[in-house]
C-alpha cells in the first residue's frame, strides 16, 4: 500500500440546457433582475485600441442554426496583455477600461451572436514564441455536455497566423481556416465574421486545453 495522493476530482460538467439565459443573460430570457448585466460589449469610451465587431452563427450537424447557445469571449488588450495577475508582462500597459471578457447569446430568431471589442495585441505563447492575435471562445448550449473551447483568429493577420503555434498544431491544414474570422466592413464598422460549426464538413477545431 502507498499513501493516497489526496487530489480531489474535478466536478463533472452538465449541459447548460435551454434556459442558460436565465442565469447568465436574463434580459434575453425576457426579464430584468440585476442592476448590472454582463453582455457582449467589452469596450467603453476610454478603452484603447481599434474597435472591431466579432459576430457569427453557431451551426449544428444538420446545418441548422443553434439559436440558444451562449458564447463567452476572453482576450488580451490592444498591446497583448491580459487583465489578470498571472500575466506578468510588466513592459506592456494594462488598460483600466478593458477587462477583456464578454458573453453573448445567439439570437432566438436570427441565430447571430455579436461582440463589440478591440483587436487584441499579440501574446507570447510557450517558450516565448509569439502567438497571432486571437480571442478565446467558450460555447455552451442545450445538447453540449461540456463547454467547447476554441479560438478566433483574424483574416488580415496572414503572416502572424502562418507562424502561430496553435494554428500550426492542427495537422489537417484545411481545418486551420475554421479558426479564422473573415474581415469586412459595414456602416463604418470593422466586422469579423466567425461561424462556429459544431459538427460536419467544416467542423470548427475545438481544444482540449
Amino acid at each position: 500500500m502507498v499513501q493516497p495522493l489526496g487530489y480531489l476530482k474535478e466536478t463533472a460538467s452538465q449541459t447548460a440546457g435551454p434556459y442558460v439565459h436565465i442565469g447568465l443573460i436574463p434580459k434575453q430570457a425576457g426579464f430584468a433582475i440585476f442592476d448590472n448585466d454582463f453582455g457582449g460589449n467589452l469596450v467603453g469610451p476610454k478603452t484603447r485600441g481599434e474597435r472591431i465587431v466579432i459576430e457569427g452563427r453557431v451551426i449544428d450537424g444538420a446545418g441548422e442554426l443553434v439559436r440558444d447557445a451562449l458564447i463567452e469571449l476572453w482576450q488580451a488588450n490592444s498591446v497583448g496583455r491580459y487583465n489578470h495577475p498571472d500575466d506578468r508582462q510588466d513592459d506592456k500597459a494594462l488598460d483600466a477600461d478593458f477587462r477583456g471578457w464578454g458573453r453573448a447569446g445567439t439570437d432566438f430568431e436570427t441565430g447571430l451572436y455579436r461582440f463589440e471589442t478591440i483587436k487584441p495585441g499579440r501574446v507570447p505563447g510557450r517558450e516565448g514564441k509569439l502567438q497571432a492575435p486571437h480571442a478565446s471562445l467558450w460555447i455552451v448550449s442545450r445538447g453540449i455536455n461540456i463547454g467547447l473551447q476554441t479560438r478566433v483568429y483574424f483574416s488580415d493577420e496572414t503572416e502572424a497566423n502562418a507562424a502561430d503555434p496553435v494554428l500550426n498544431a492542427i495537422a489537417m491544414r484545411e481545418r486551420r481556416k475554421t479558426l479564422i474570422a473573415q474581415k469586412s466592413s459595414r456602416d463604418g464598422q470593422t466586422i469579423y465574421t466567425f461561424d462556429i460549426v459544431l459538427q460536419g464538413d467544416n467542423e470548427t477545431v475545438f481544444f482540449d486545453a
Partner: protein, 245 residues
Amino acid sequence: MRNIIRRDGEFFQRDRDLQPQAYTPIYKTSVARSPRHALLSIDNSLSEITGPMFNHNELGPLDHDMLKNYAKGGDPIGERIIVHGRVLDENGRPVPNTLVEVWQANAGGRYRHRNDSYLAPIDPNFGGCGRCLTDEDGYYFFRTVKPGAYPWRNYVNSWRPAHIHFSIFGSGFAQRLITQMYFEGDPLIAKCPIVNTVPDREATARLVAPLDVNAGVPMDMLAYKFDIVLRGRRSTLFENRLEGN
C-alpha cells in the same frame, strides 16, 4: 534572505474519463451538437491560465438571495432552502473571489423564460437566478426555494430531477465550468439521461448535494451542501531573492 515562492502555473490535464463525452445518444440533443473530430490537445499558454476577474461592486446586495431578488411584495412559493458550499481546486485549495452564478425552475418546475411553456404556473415573486463571489475560503451561499421536477422531450416521458444549474469561473479561462446540482434522495436522478451522460458513477454522485441539517435555520429553512472542484494548477517553485544576493 531567500524565500521559496509558489506561483500558479498551467492547469492539470483534464481527466476526460470523469467528464461526459460530447456524443451521448441517450441525451438526444447531443447527437447533432457534438463534434465528430477529436479535440486538439494544446498546452496552456497565457491565454488559458488567465481569465476574467469580477468584483463586489458589480453585484447587487440581493443578487445571491433568490427569496428576495425578484420579490414583488411577497415571498416565492416553495420549500425555503440554503444552498452553500466551497469552490476548491483539485489540490484542495480554495478558489477565492470567483463568480458563481445559478439558475433554476420555481417550486412547480417552471422557468421564467420566454421559451418555457410547461403548464406549471410562473411564480410572480421568483426570478430563478442568483450570483455571488466566493470569499477568501472559496465559500459561497444562496437562499432560494427547492426547484420542482419538470418534464422534457427526450423520451416520451422524461423528467428532470430537481436541480440547480451552476456556472463557475475559477482563476483561468480553462477552468470554466457549468454543471448541475441535484438533491439527495431524489428517485429521478438515476433515470435522468442528462445525469447519465457522465460515465462515472462516483462522478455523478458528486453532483448530488446532501441535506445539511446543521447549516439550516430552525423553524425557517433546510440547507444542502454542494462543493465544487475545478481543475488544479501546477506550482512552479522557484527561489525568490528578496534583497540583493
